[in-house]
């Protein structure tokens, strides 16, 4: 497993850049992750809103939110989500939010 430094802390990171020690996630870590994923760093409010929504949803339900819900609840158009996170909600936003690598839906 490759290693990487995020917000000054050493992390196990998989090939796709997903952190393997979610308990070590922090806002600073997110900002560091966002460097590769978000269209602007540091992340502006809408990006943060999305990341926080995804993370909260995950902490509550144990899964990443469905794309439809993610757009609806935040009043984001899906294209806008791709503008904020060009790799999309799964490969982009979920990664920044510190979730396990989606195999399912997002």
């Amino acid at each position: 497993m490759p290693k990487g430094i995020l917000a000054g802390v050493e992390f196990e990171i998989d090939e796709d850049g997903f952190i393997q020690e979610p308990e070590k996630w922090s806002e600073a870590v997110a900002e560091d992750l966002a460097k590769d994923e978000s269209s602007i760093t540091p992340m502006p409010p809408d990006q943060w809103r999305l990341v926080n929504y995804i993370r909260d949803y995950y902490l509550q339900f144990g899964v990443a939110p469905p794309v439809r819900m993610l757009c609806k609840k935040n009043d984001f158009d899906l294209k806008y989500v791709y503008e904020m996170f060009p790799k999309g909600p799964a490969a982009g936003a979920c990664k920044v939010a510190g979730l396990p690598k989606p195999t399912g839906c997002v």
Binding site: F61, G62, V63, A64, P100, P102, T103
Partner: protein
Amino acid sequence: MATTDIGPPDYKEMLPEVIAKNYGKWKYHEDIKPGVLKHVSETGDEAFTVRCGSPRLVSVDLIRDLCDIADKYCDGHFRFTSRYNPEFITPNKDNIEPIIAAIEKIGLPVGGTGRGISNMIHTQGWIHCHGAATDASGVVKAIMDEMYDYFVGKKTLPQKLRISLACCLNMCGAIHATDLAVVGVHTRVPTIDHEHMTVLCELPTTQASCPTGAIRKHPDPNIKSVTVNDDKCMYCGNCFTVCPAMPIAHAEGDGIAIYVGGKVSNARKAPMFSRLVIPYIPNNPPRWPEVTSVLKNIVEVYASNAHPFERVGEWIERVGWERFFKLTGIPFVEQNIDDFELARDTLRTTTQFKW
């Protein structure tokens, strides 16, 4: 930002001249000989098609070879069929033999039309997929070597016979409705990597993935993971699909199952599912001899018993599955009897049967 959403090229640009000109005007066709079709248009134009086999997994060089042939004989156009076969279309009858010669020169067999066996729909196998319970390209090569005569028209059959392969139950290629389906199967319960579970998997998704509800939350609340009820697990591997922490592949347990009698076309009988006849044959690379011999046997029994123009499934449904098992000598085992959700409809609720 990069260009996006331009979509595929417009097909109209891709059409050979004779096709563009006679688009939607075709009147009838004839089978000229194995691998060669003639389509006649209302305009009087004729289009000759030469079809050939392909291993599907190809180098760019092979595709360039095909381009060369197309450039030479087909105004720089060619196509592939829905079963991976390259097709060369020409309005000029005299091009047929040269095209055939050129195809054979690059090592491809001409054929795949009419009442025989066309190319095998198949999947990635050990070439590329994480889930494969068997290989794809290797098994296909082994099978098609045996079925070669039915492809090139040296031997014919009562009707088209399709063989397809999927390397796991996901059945990429949707081979669940094919005359002969070769399916990679696991036969062992997945193991669970409790330690990496939460890092790698969403627990609710993992639980929901199990068709039989075999996956439960781990009883120990301190262990954020799941458990599998071995008795309920039928090794489908769907949990592994969503959760890398539940590997299911097993060198000794993985193998191949054979399904028979499906069809897709609506000709005569409605489409049918393929049905399990052999639940398990161990993987035996590089030539999977047990698999190929079983398939050959079924093809031959079909060839000598079916009525003309009867697909495999139509033949079996006419004579009865009990007759199929008798004629092929395949042993009937408990796995052949359905016990999943629609099982009841498969049970024989009549005294009508053959001995």
